[in-house]
């Protein structure tokens, strides 16, 4: 009985190593992109290191031309490292106000994307009237909740 218990412990230990190795090498990574009129720019990325840590904004690339009444084209992408398909609901919010909602899907070990649009008006509204005659510029930031994670993205908008 004693040797059998030791075998059980050994098998459990080996299985534990397998579970940890396989699970730790698999992950999902999300990015948030904004279309600036010429192409997609990544404005937020999830480093998958923590489900509660917010995504880090990417390096500044300049403001997106969008007036107060414009609609911003945005995109959530997923890099699914798990062998099974992923299908997650995401919500986009700004100042606790939901701006968009959707579903992002990706086959196993593949990528997927989901486009959505948000109005530029809330970001300009929070700025208030511009005192100067120059085109207004405002900082926009959004929170995206997906797959139990909280991502955020920030970028600048400039009136055209």
């Amino acid at each position: 009985m004693g040797s059998r218990a030791l075998w059980v412990a050994g098998v459990a230990g080996a299985l534990l190593l397998i579970v940890l190795t396989v699970d730790a090498t698999m992950n999902r990574t999300y990015t948030i992109d904004v279309h600036d009129g010429t192409g997609w720019r990544t404005v937020g990325a999830d480093d998958h290191q923590s489900e509660t840590r917010a995504a880090k904004p990417i390096a500044y690339f300049g403001p997106v031309d969008a007036s107060e009444n414009d609609t911003l084209r945005m995109r959530l992408t997923i890099d699914n490292g798990y062998p099974w398909a992923a299908s997650e609901t995401f919500t986009v919010s700004y100042n606790d106000r939901e701006l968009a909602r959707g579903t992002i899907e990706a086959p196993g070990r593949s990528q997927g994307e989901a486009e959505f649009t948000i109005p530029a008006a809330p970001f300009y509204a929070s700025m208030g009237p511009s005192p100067s005659k120059e085109p207004a510029s405002v900082s926009a930031f959004i929170n995206v909740e997906v797959d139990g994670r909280y991502l955020y993205a920030s970028f600048d908008l400039k009136e055209t």
Partner: protein, 132 residues
């Protein structure tokens, strides 16, 4: 002859290192694993520690760290069983964090398994106890 059992001191040191490693795992790597990965990891850890406790308990060798009156409570088997219980509790907590299963189902499974274990163990006789 020393009252301190060197072999068991080494095992106890290993247990202490395991406890610290478990705490580090729970804090640093918990979010990196999938929901079911966490459940399986803690479950397998619990099985491993309990099996080691059974092995040391049935090996026939003394399991006390210090073979002296007042210190006999400090046993390798007790420490391993406690570690196994902590890991099993961790697997239950990780199971409650699985989003795919409705919470009522999770509660029913956890309570059902716990009661089933208690009832099964209650019907078994402890080794060495006779009907006389």
């Amino acid at each position: 002859m020393s009252a301190v059992n060197t072999r068991n001191v080494l095992v106890l040191l290993g247990i202490v290192m395991s406890i610290i490693g478990l705490a580090y795992f729970a804090i640093e790597f918990f979010a990196d694993l999938s929901d079911w990965g966490r459940v399986l990891s803690f479950l397998l850890l619990g099985v491993m520690y309990v099996a080691l406790g059974v092995h040391f308990g049935q090996s026939g060798d003394p399991t006390e760290v210090v073979e002296r009156s007042g210190w006999r409570w400090l046993r390798v088997t007790n420490a391993l069983y406690i570690l196994g219980a902590i890991c099993s509790g961790g697997s239950v907590i990780a199971f409650f964090a699985v989003d795919e299963i409705p919470r009522v189902v999770k509660l029913a499974i956890a309570l059902g398994l716990g009661l089933a274990l208690i009832l099964y163990a209650a019907r078994r006789r402890a080794p060495g106890i006779s009907d006389a």
